[in-house]
């Protein structure tokens, strides 16, 4: 077991290096000289020269790569090109608001989706099943933008049930006042795809031989669904969730943007709009590292929930 973890950690290195190279390629090679990017954004020539010197633009590529690696290791990406805020400070302060929305959203969405998917899988092939699937398909085909625009307009602007936007300092206030409409929208858009996916997980399990054995033992259909099938289907569901986690951090960037929630996702959009490379680079690299780490975690979880898996 520990040998497995050590080997997996060792194997993570090439992937991490690959991520660094890819990001470096995108920003230092494709992106080119920041002076062109910054022209018109920063008028102060001295400041531009300073940035160029920091990046080592006139140095060979390997020196630039070295600078980049040092930035990653020391977590010091300097200051934002637009606001002069420290990049590390940006990352740390934006994480909280993102999680305030995402943690409850993910938990609620997963629980609701599992419940609904089990119910739909139970009546598989029925009229209800088909209707739910059609509603899901149609719901999925409407852009998330439309949900946000319409929900914000109707529930916040017209009806005034929720604040139109904003974010405060109190966690409780943020969670129950400012985050509630974003969470609601997040639920609406994430339940449809999850429901469809989980339903196929359940249907796959229902067709397995062990379900027939359980029936032959005299186990009731309810117990088969809630104990036998759910326990088995939880394996692909957990694997799927673990793989999704890092992406979720950004997944709600549109919601954050519309509701002015100062989270990571909104920061990315702002940074892209402002061509604020240090911020994008830092977020990209660290989110990628987080993904690689969660993949390992996912494998270990997989091992924990599936007795068939032997990690060597």
């Amino acid at each position: 077991m520990s040998a497995y973890i050590i080997r997996r950690l060792w194997q993570m290195l090439p992937t991490m290096l690959g991520v660094v190279l890819l990001v470096f390629f995108i920003f230092n090679w494709v992106g080119g000289d920041p002076a062109y990017v910054l022209a018109g954004k920063i008028s102060n020539q001295e400041q531009i020269d300073n940035i160029r010197r920091q990046l080592g633009v006139d140095q060979p590529y390997w020196v630039q790569l070295g600078i980049f690696l040092k930035q990653i290791v020391t977590a010091d990406f300097g200051a934002s090109w637009s606001t002069n805020e420290r990049v590390s400070h940006i990352l740390l302060t934006r994480l909280g608001p993102s999680l305030t929305v995402l943690v409850p959203l993910t938990i609620l969405a997963t629980l609701i989706s599992i419940g609904l998917a089990l119910a739909v899988a139970y009546v598989r092939g029925s009229f209800t099943d088909r209707m739910v699937m059609i509603v899901c398909t149609v719901g999925l085909s409407i852009s998330i933008l439309v949900y946000i625009i319409v929900f914000q307009y109707v529930f916040a602007y017209k009806l005034g049930w929720f604040p139109v936007q904003g974010w405060g300092d109190s966690f409780i206030q943020n969670l129950f006042v400012y985050a509630s409409l974003p969470i609601l929208i997040g639920l609406v858009v994430s339940i449809a795809p999850n429901l469809r996916l989980y339903r196929t997980f359940f249907l796959d399990e229902i067709n397995q031989d062990y379900v027939r054995t359980a029936r032959a033992k005299g186990v009731s259909e309810n117990r088969i669904m809630w104990i036998h099938v759910l326990r088995n289907a939880s394996i692909p569901i957990i694997t799927f969730l673990m793989a999704e986690l890092p992406g979720l951090l950004l997944g709600s960037f549109l919601i954050e943007r519309f509701f002015s929630i100062p989270g990571i996702g909104r920061e990315v959009i702002l940074a892209v709009e402002r061509s604020d490379f240090p911020v994008i680079k830092a977020i990209t690299v660290y989110v990628a590292f987080a993904t690689i780490a969660t993949n390992l975690l996912a494998d270990l979880t997989y091992k924990a929930v599936d007795p068939r898996v032997q990690l060597k």
Binding site: V23, Y36, T137, F253, L270, V287
Partner: protein
């Protein structure tokens, strides 16, 4: 290889043997028969085909080529009944605001309400001062547009050049339009058609690119295994470690030059990973199947086994993946264009329409939002249902597992 392949495919009975026979239907024919008997699938197929036809016609300039013309009054409401009161207006300076006084005042009043500020604040590139400046009713086509529309400057340029052309003769402008009119009185119906051209083309082209890359990489990695597989797997894990959206946005950030092909490249080059994973698994599975081992035993070369033997047996997976990606990329393009990272401003897409519609909704001008949303929803729903039907037809074992 090629001639060999053709020869094999073309193997037919020579005339010397006259036995009564019909060549049996192959698996593709059988799949097509199954698809044809699937009503939902066929209806979806017809809808998708209609959209694609619309895209081609629009791309060829046969329909909606004049979407950029002002044919109605500003925010002309939609009607299908044809209450077509026309108004003659000098098209140049008075365009945006003055043509419809009520609209202008309502708009002004909304600028200062909270959500107006929200939207202002969200337009990151703009300084807050601009929003405040609207209090003093500035010349319409500068401050007003700038305050709500990130594309304002460019649009103004476009409009100016157009206006100068249009200024020569007065334009007939209708009070209502079938799908309504936008801020400048352009026909929303034509914009929707033109927008579908962009969105569908981007979706199809990017999905084709991503599927092609994913299939080729996956086939090579899965078939050859060993270090080749390790190399491609490394490449894959690097790409899939960076969340897809972040990768797109990062590439969008550094690519200064925008265009339809840039969007296609971004989506295509970042979107191959899912197809790769599936195709690698398929090739891994099929290469140890007995029919491939049998092909090895009769002396078939690697290329022959990969393309002639295995590929036809996994091509249904490719087709379904392509179909899924098209839907995904149409949605992605809409979001990118909405944010202004997608297609350039002089190209209309469903995303840029939603962007405009976002602000119009507050004025109660819902029609552009509804038009773009409905068009997209119909297409994407049809495409998804078609994908489900396609999968059921190609792989009947899976029937009823996913989707409606």
């Amino acid at each position: 290889m090629a001639t060999d392949l053709a020869a094999l495919r073309g193997t037919r009975a020579p005339t010397a043997r006259e036995i009564p026979h019909t060549v049996s239907p192959g698996l593709w024919t059988l799949a097509w028969r199954r698809l044809r008997s699937d009503t939902v699938g066929m209806v979806s197929l017809v809808i998708v085909a209609a959209f694609i036809l619309m895209m081609i016609l629009s791309g060829a300039g046969l329909i909606a080529s004049d979407w950029n013309r002002e044919v109605g009054v500003n925010y002309a409401p939609p009607t299908f009944l044809g209450e077509e009161a026309t108004a003659t207006a000098p098209a140049s300076i008075t365009l945006p605001g003055a043509g419809n006084a009520a609209g202008a005042t309502q708009y002004k009043s909304n600028i200062v309400d909270p959500i107006g500020d929200v939207i202002e604040a969200l337009k990151a590139g703009k300084t807050p001062g601009e929003a405040a400046s609207t209090g003093t009713l500035p010349p319409p086509e500068t401050a007003e547009e700038k305050s709500v529309d990130p594309l304002a400057e460019v649009m103004a340029d476009i409009r100016k050049s157009e206006a100068s052309k249009a200024a020569a003769k007065p334009v007939e402008r209708k009070a209502t339009l079938p799908f309504g009119g936008d801020k400048w009185g352009r026909d929303v119906l034509k914009k929707t058609i033109k927008g579908s051209e962009t969105s569908i083309f981007v979706g199809l082209a990017a999905a084709t690119l991503a599927t092609f890359l994913g299939t080729v990489f996956g086939a090579i990695a899965g078939y050859f295994g060993k270090w080749v597989d390790d190399a491609f797997n490394w490449f894959y894990s690097v790409f899939s470690s960076i969340p897809y959206l972040l990768l797109i946005l990062a590439v969008a950030a550094v690519l200064q030059q925008k265009g339809i092909f840039t969007v296609i490249l971004i989506l295509g080059l970042t979107g191959w990973t899912g197809v790769f994973r599936l195709m690698r698994a398929e090739y891994l599975k099929h290469k140890s199947r007995e029919y491939v081992q049998a092909a090895d035993a009769i002396g078939a070369s690697n290329a022959r086994r990969m393309f002639l033997h295995i590929f036809p047996n996994v091509s249904h997976v490719v087709l379904v993946q392509l179909s899924i990606l098209v839907v995904g990329f149409i949605k992605a393009e809409v979001i990118l264009s909405f944010l202004g990272f997608g297609v350039p401003v002089d190209v209309v897409s469903w995303g840029s329409m939603l962007n405009e519609a976002q602000n119009e909704l507050i004025l109660g001008k819902w029609w552009q939002l509804v038009a773009a949303t409905t068009a997209m929803a119909i297409l994407v729903t049809a495409f998804s249902l078609f994908t489900d039907a396609l999968r059921d037809a190609l792989d009947p074992k899976l029937k009823g597992r996913a989707g409606a």
